[in-house]
């Protein structure tokens, strides 16, 4: 029926149990440093891309870990692989490899080129 002028809203929750975490698992198996991120944001602060667009490497990593793959997928191609994030990361996360593996995972697991 139409004409209510309002509707049931979609919940904003991250539905953790239902979400597919296979991309994150693919990355973590090949690049264990991916797991050690403490979300400090140092990578995003120094990021060339993030300075001018709404790209955050910190956020991208957490989205992948929570299985919010669609939102993450849209972001990945923005990275220019300059590697400044690797230099600044206090945890030693190989962030460039994280990006490369993420692209690979989307291609292999989702048959879905980034």
């Amino acid at each position: 029926m139409e004409g209510f002028g309002f509707s049931v809203l979609k919940e904003r929750h991250i539905n953790y149990d239902a979400n597919d975490k296979s991309i994150a698992e693919y990355i973590a198996e090949r690049e264990p440093s991916f797991r050690t991120c403490i979300e400090c944001g140092c990578c995003s602060a120094t990021c060339t891309t993030g300075a001018f667009t709404n790209f955050s490497l910190r956020e991208l990593q957490i989205l992948l870990k929570r299985g919010e793959n669609e939102i993450a997928r849209e972001q990945i191609s923005k990275c220019m692989l300059c590697g400044k994030c690797i230099l600044v990361c206090p945890r030693g996360v190989n962030t460039r490899n994280v990006i490369l593996l993420a692209r690979e995972a989307f291609r292999k697991l989702m048959k879905n080129e980034v």
């Binding site: 904003r12 991250i14 149990d17 264990p32 797991r35 979300e39 956020e59 919010e68």
Partner: protein, 346 residues
């Protein structure tokens, strides 16, 4: 020195601080009476399984502590509670639950801490939902070698809630208990050792890893054990029809609320001033701080001294401390006590 010249010290509390202080005082030549309210000494340590940061079996520490207090100058009296302290000239008289008046030259309070009673955080449903347990309950499960749900199943998805009863003005505890973060890290790793394929999540506000090798342990838990850390305080827990726990939490770093179903939830209970310590503070006019722990005479160079001459503090009755710091604090009290004896003799 003749026995008659020796100083008499009463140590109140037979946990890590009390046992260490008694041992060190005895070695310094004092005649020590150790009062323990429980039927045996050892305090909280005897309930723990493995200890951070080196995953040592707690029994080793317990054995060390008991050996420390096994000395000819020490009389250990269990099942005795100290009711109040009273100054009489230079002596301090300890009145006990058995109606005795023990005359001493100095008293060391090592009354320790109580674990926060998780039932006070009603929204987590401890003591209501079967599979909501406390960090202390989990240690018992580890000791018994069996981590199981109430229905006997092996839990596959386990969550840890940090800061239960700490950093929480709703329960009047604004302070950080310091050890719960690293305990959660340790317990999360232990879970993975007990249940290989378990998925383990820690819900934290901040990871406060300010102790030797804590941060290293944290990183190891991420890298080698795959423990998932989610920054956000759980606001509410409920049971679903399959008796799984539903937690409400925001993933503050993703900026969105997160829904998750768990088989078991562990509440990281904080540390509070012990009830027996509070009773003594009240009956004997000992000053306490805003956090209700005993207020040391000076934060920088008098952390073992009280506001009453001849009465000293050791260990977690003054602030949350780990075992290492507790033992150091208990050793330090001996310096203050012997100083005090020198000064009153002079």
């Amino acid at each position: 020195m003749h026995k008659a010249d020796k100083k008499r010290v009463v140590v109140i509390g037979g946990g890590a601080a009390g046992l260490e202080a008694a041992g060190q005082l005895a070695r310094a030549g004092c005649i020590v009476t150790l009062l323990e309210k429980e039927s045996e000494t050892g305090g909280h340590v005897k309930n723990w399984y493995h200890l951070f940061p080196d995953i040592r079996n707690s029994d080793e520490v317990l054995k060390y502590l008991v050996r420390q207090a096994d000395h000819g100058n020490i009389t250990v009296r269990t099942g005795v509670t100290a009711g109040s302290l009273e100054k009489n000239g230079k002596s301090v008289i300890v009145k006990t639950s058995r109606g005795e008046r023990i005359i001493s030259d100095a008293v060391v309070l090592a009354t320790g801490f109580d674990l926060f009673d998780s039932r006070r955080k009603e929204e987590y449903g401890y003591d209501i939902y079967h599979n909501v347990i406390s960090s202390a309950d989990l240690e018992v499960m580890f000791r018994e070698g069996s981590v199981k749900r109430h229905d006997g199943e092996i839990p596959q998805r386990i969550g840890f809630v940090h800061c239960v009863g700490s950093r929480d003005s709703k329960v009047n505890n604004l302070y950080c208990s310091k050890l719960c973060c690293v305990t959660a890290v340790k317990q999360a790793m232990e879970i993975k050792k007990h249940i290989e394929n378990a998925r383990v999540y820690c819900f934290y506000m901040d990871m406060r890893m300010g102790g030797a090798l804590y941060e290293e342990l944290y990183k190891e838990s991420q890298e080698s054990y795959g423990i998932v850390y989610i920054r956000g305080k759980v606001s509410e827990v409920s049971d679903n029809i399959d008796s799984r726990l539903i937690v409400k939490v925001e993933d503050t770093l993703a900026g969105r609320p997160l829904r998750m179903e768990l088989d078991m939830l562990v509440l990281m209970a904080g540390m509070e001033m012990s009830e027996s310590g509070m009773r003594l503070a009240e009956s004997s006019d000992l000053q306490t701080a805003e956090n209700r722990f005993f207020a040391p005479a000076d934060h920088h160079f008098g952390s073992n001294r009280s506001n009453m001459d001849g009465v000293f503090y050791a260990g977690t009755c003054t602030a949350p401390m780990n075992i290492t710091d507790t033992i150091s604090h208990a050793r330090a009290v001996v310096a203050d006590v012997t100083d005090y004896f020198r000064n009153i003799n002079a």
